[in-house]
Amino acid sequence: MIEFRSVTKQFPDGTRAVDSLSLVIPSRKTTVLVGSSGSGKTTILRMINRMVDPTSGVVEIDGDDIAGKEPVKLRRGIGYVMQNSGLLPHRKVIDNIATVLYLTGVARGRARGRALELMDTVGLDRAFADRYPSQLSGGQQQRVGVARGLAVDPNILLMDEPFGAVDPIVRSELQQELLRLQRELGKTVVFVTHDIDEAFLLGDQIAILKTGGEIAQLGTPTEILSNPADDFVSSFVGTDRGARALHLAPGRFGNLVIDGTGRPAGILVNESPTEGPSWPGQTRGPSTDGR
């Protein structure tokens, strides 16, 4: 469990990225921090591995104040995946994945063996092991990034808009892959995005952030959709524009689900969903559906 207790971060130029934030991030669940730019979501994420230190307040991991931990050591025990993968361009894929293992003194042979296993885990062909990151597509690089984040089998995985820079088809693939991984591994995932649909898809718990790191609403996707806390949340998730006000229209193969703008969002079927987070119905909104 990660806990923020009245945490404030003020940068030297005077901007308050986060203002007395209190937040509990449960273990083995995916918590998504969603907000537009300037909402302090990345700052919050980086306070968990001490990339950023709070100006005041306490961040605890499993009851221990992390201010007392050595940053370099702390970071080696927490997985981190970022946008544009952040891979080291001068290291082969296999060595990129094994980076943290090397840093923690795991023998080279064992580290590489583990890296190959991780390539299987994230669905990367082992043939890519000896390539350099620049020889991979954006989606493949992102998989390498995830494998690297998982290398030391950390309890906590921090993901900073990891799928923000890939095209929609690859993004959707990577999102499904992450859901699968999370079912298998059960990490404490903290995921930052500005895409509310991505948040609804991946999050067990979602924190919608306003400017200054203020939490507008914290809850499950169902709670947020069915009972938005205020106008800001309504507007953010799209209920105010009617974008999520779905209705049924008869179609040739069953009932079509039509969103508030009159576009078809999907087809209503009778089976209940068999995987993924709990949902009120089969429809998932316009951009995450389509299957």
Partner: protein
């Protein structure tokens, strides 16, 4: 030609002197400039001072420096050390700015990610930032190598032997062939050094070549894969 054959021993010995007088400043200059450049890059307060000072240093004429050094550091006037120290200073002057700029150009994303992986500040500099500066450092060293090889000749004017001696001797005796041998020898040394640096780059920085030669579109297992721009 017969002059060259008759004086082959002297030419070879001057060539060895020339190589020795160039290699030491090139290597020393690199070893000194990289830490200074790294300091300049890390501490913004001293960056301006260090980079400007090294720039001004390069503006001091080499002959003046050769002549002044003995009175500054107390060496003998004919000591080859004067040339070595002066040329090391020039190498440092060129490489400090190059190193500082190269380090400053390392992708911020990569630095952030290295930090997040748990690299210490020192580890990050040595294992990530310097290797990634490699291609720029190499380009800088190629300039340093050629410029040093050429400047060594000037030392002949203060009596430190190198292929430069052939210029002076050939000029005084009005004997163009000797001058020509000196020039060709100097150019060959410069080309060999440059070639060695390029080879070292291929060996030490294999990743930079792949990125460059493959451009944006490469073939991976028969599927065209578009590289992320």
């Amino acid at each position: 030609m017969s002059w060259l054959l008759a004086n082959l021993d002297m030419v070879l010995s001057l060539t060895l002197d020339h190589i020795w007088l160039s290699v030491v400043p090139i290597v020393l200059g690199f070893l000194l400039a990289v830490p200074i450049g790294a300091i300049a890059n890390r501490y913004h307060l001293v960056r301006g001072t260090l980079v400007t000072a090294s720039g001004i240093l390069y503006a001091v004429p080499s002959l003046a420096l050769f002549v002044l050094l003995p009175s500054i550091i107390g060496t003998q006037i004919l000591d080859p050390l004067n040339v070595i120290i002066a040329l090391t200073l020039y190498a440092v002057a060129l490489m400090v700015r190059t190193t500082a700029d190269a380090l400053a150009d390392v992708e911020p994303d990569v630095i952030q990610s290295a930090k997040a992986m748990g690299y210490s500040t020192w580890g990050r500099l040595v294992r990530v930032e310097l290797p990634l500066s490699g291609p720029v450092l190499l380009a800088g060293m190629r300039v340093v190598a050629v410029s040093t090889v050429s400047l060594v000749s000037v030392g002949a004017l203060i009596g430190v032997n190198s292929l430069g001696y052939l210029f002076i001797d050939g000029f005084q005796r009005n004997f163009p062939l000797e001058i020509l041998v000196g020039i060709i020898g100097t150019v060959v040394i410069a080309l060999v050094f440059d070639g060695l640096l390029v080879l070292m780059g291929r060996f030490l920085l294999p990743w930079s070549r792949i990125t460059r030669t493959n451009g944006r579109l490469i073939v991976v297992q028969d599927d065209p894969v578009v590289i992320n721009p």
